[in-house]
């Protein structure tokens, strides 16, 4: 075992997959010589060569579209969109082609590729550098959408994403890139896509979150524990497909649920989870399923982020309200 942060863990997964599968290539803006603006691909070009780890011209639609071509021809491209706000020029390729290629060709062709995107706020960044676009992808039939919250999961989920036969959007919560360190096995392992993880077992309320919100949720749960509340925490890990089994079992047990996302509210993952809970555990509910999300506004620039970002105190406030409901 080796102590890694999320940057190290993703780098390690890419390194292992480049070694294991000659079809894997890693490219995007500044991923080669520079090693990525967050240093996630650092050292990979030196080790695996410029044919396999390289800088592309500055064009996100081109990066995504060429990856589809490579994937159709049997390669395994793992591409990077430099920031969440820069994926939008590639949406046409992702929505119109990558997500649909298997279906359109009745299974003759497919697009098994991975799109890595650092995402989310809380790093005092420039405009278009703090977006939470997961709902767009979760809403797009044909994509799988994964978000790790720990270095261990980051490695296992990325390996699974690269080995998956279908396109996977792999969102990296950049706020916690270097915030959490843990022991991570050095060998190759994978974590199944579409499986949530119960991080904390509890009896009175189910808290569902993912990505950078997990850490905030854990702080809120520590406050709840001090006040004698027992909260179960589910790390969703996959936005699509949603792990109905884990959600159902937990909510049937607790009867109360709070969903926390940084993404804006309307039509977001929290809304989808509330629908799933209605379908799966309606008769077990003791309180209305509740969501704590970003506002339906543009995420503000750094001086305004304090109004937008969800704090442990706010999460705790909702926990308290729901348990007393």
């Amino acid at each position: 075992m080796k102590v890694m942060n999320m940057v190290n863990a993703i780098n390690d997964a890419l390194d292992l997959m480049l070694t294991a599968d000659p079809g894997v290539v890693v490219y995007g803006e500044d991923v080669g010589v520079e090693g990525g603006v967050f240093r996630v691909t650092e050292g990979l070009q030196l080790k695996h060569g410029v044919q396999r780890v390289f800088d592309s011209p500055l064009a996100e639609s081109g990066i995504a579209g060429t990856a589809l071509g490579m994937a159709v021809a049997g390669m395994k491209p793992v591409i990077e969109m430099q920031f969440d706000g820069f994926v939008y020029p590639a949406m046409n390729q992702i929505l119109s082609h990558i997500a649909r290629f298997r279906n359109r060709t009745r299974g003759k062709f497919s697009a098994p590729l991975v799109i890595r995107i650092p995402y989310g706020g809380g790093i005092n960044a420039l405009e278009h550098h703090s977006e939470s676009p997961e709902a767009y992808f979760g809403h797009t039939p044909g994509l799988k959408v994964v978000i790790p919250s720990t270095p261990y999961d980051a490695k296992g989920l990325l390996i699974a994403a690269i080995e998956d036969p279908d396109p996977v959007i792999y969102l990296e919560p950049k706020r916690i890139y270097r915030a959490i360190k843990q022991e991570v096995p050095e060998e190759k392992y994978s974590i199944p896509l579409g499986k949530a993880k119960v991080l904390n077992s509890g009896e009175q309320l189910t808290l569902i979150a993912y990505g950078a919100m997990i850490r905030e949720a854990q702080k809120a749960i520590a406050m709840a524990k001090q006040n004698g509340f027992s909260v179960e925490l589910i790390d969703l890990r996959s936005i699509w497909p949603i792990d109905r089994d884990t959600v159902r079992e937990s909510v049937r047990k607790t009867g109360r649920v709070l969903i926390v996302t940084e993404a804006p509210q309307s039509y977001g993952p929290a809304a989808e989870l509330m629908a799933v809970i209605n379908e799966e555990a309606f008769l077990n509910l003791e309180a209305p399923p509740t969501r704590l999300t970003g506002f339906d506004t543009v995420i503000p620039l750094p001086l305004g982020e304090k109004h937008y970002l969800i704090t442990p105190q706010r999460i705790y406030h909702e926990i308290d309200k729901l348990i007393r409901y």
Partner: protein, 367 residues
């Protein structure tokens, strides 16, 4: 003065660059005289000096933790100052994000610029700047807006040009090509200025394009295009003036590849030592636009350069006071998050804001 004949002689396909001054500030052609008056030249030098001073101070404010990520302009100022000299009140300025001197010329206050990079959208209001769009972080996306503005100028029979900026990396984006094509097909008065500073963050030109230069990309769309020494204020001024005059005669769009070098980092988060050599930096340091103009001024005795220290000291005071004004800007309020999303705030947004305000009331204001 740059004219149709000069354009014909500086064929982009031959990779011929238009340049008037040598690196040490001497005219390349014997007997050449600037088309600018002595006063204009001295003013341009002062403006360039001001931009450089403000830019260096911005980087140091960031280093002091008083401002967030900032994209330095160091080495590219001649392009901005020349643009500022040519652009008119009625013209549109469509920036990317590295044109400080041109923004200032258009009437943006330093206070606003600092406020923006401190992380407040109020800094994008540009209260005193007529006809300037906000900076555009999504690379090259602003260029199609420029073509649309150009269409509106023609549609409204306005005598006004649109100056649109992008970097070398941005020329790989589809929007760059779409903008050139729209502008040409519609024959609109848009002057595209590509600041080719050699690197898109870490990626050098050689990996960005196999074209002989960027100017040739305009030719394919039948847009008159020329490669210009972007560190030569006189050359930039002449070509920009010509491009604007052409646009005002109804001759449509124009593309300028301004060849320059980003002497600083991409942004304050970037470390250029990872991807470029000291030799490369020294090669370009010799072409420094400020140094070049200063040599010209010195050789022609246009300005008593012994006053420069005093001038810079004065600028620093002025810049510091703009920064302090940005620091004293009223606190970012919750209302500011919601107020500008729609013309009238929809009930749903009011509801979301009310819920949060109720929470704040209960928590005693703690987030």
């Amino acid at each position: 003065m740059f004219n149709q004949d000069s354009l014909d002689k500086h064929r982009a396909l031959d990779n011929r660059m238009f340049q008037l001054l040598s690196e040490d500030g001497k005219p390349l052609e014997k007997g050449w005289k600037p088309s600018l008056s002595n006063e204009e030249i001295v003013q341009a030098y002062k403006d360039l000096l001001f931009e450089r001073t403000a830019d260096l101070m911005a980087v140091s404010y960031q280093r002091q933790g008083r401002m967030f990520t900032y994209p330095p302009n160091l080495g590219q100022e001649a392009i901005h100052i020349a643009t500022g000299m040519v652009i008119k009140e009625e013209d549109w300025l469509v920036p990317a994000f590295r044109e400080l001197g041109a923004w200032l010329a258009k009437g943006v206050s330093l206070r606003e610029i600092f406020l923006y990079f401190k992380g407040n959208e109020e800094g994008s209001h540009f209260t005193q700047a007529n006809r300037m769009l906000p900076v555009s972080v999504p690379i090259a996306s602003q260029l199609v807006h420029a073509a649309g503005l150009g269409y509106a100028m023609n549609y409204n029979s306005e005598k006004a040009a649109v100056f649109a900026f992008v970097g070398d990396g941005g020329t790989s984006e589809g929007d760059f090509h779409e903008a050139l094509n729209f502008a040409a097909v519609w024959n609109v008065p848009v002057i595209f200025v590509v600041q080719n500073n050699q690197f898109a963050i870490s990626v050098p030109m050689s990996m960005q394009t196999k074209s002989v230069n960027i100017a040739v990309k305009g030719l394919a769309y039948n847009v008159p295009s020329v490669l210009v020494d972007g560190n030569d204020l006189f050359a930039m001024h002449e070509v920009l003036s010509f491009a604007r005059a052409q646009a005002m005669e109804g001759k449509g769009p124009f593309l300028i590849e301004a060849r320059t070098f980003r002497m600083g980092a991409h942004t304050t988060s970037d470390d250029p030592t990872r991807y470029r050599t000291r030799e490369e930096e020294e090669h370009w340091a010799a072409k420094d636009p400020l140094k070049r103009l200063k040599s010209f001024i010195e050789a022609n005795n246009l300005f008593d350069l012994s006053q420069e220290d005093e001038l810079v000291a004065e600028y620093k005071k002025q810049i510091d006071s703009s920064f302090e004004a940005a620091e004293q800007h009223p606190e970012y309020k919750l209302d500011d998050v919601f107020a500008y999303m729609y013309s009238d705030m929809p009930d749903e947004l009011k509801r979301q804001k009310n819920i949060y305000e109720n929470y704040l009331n209960q928590s005693g204001g703690a987030k």
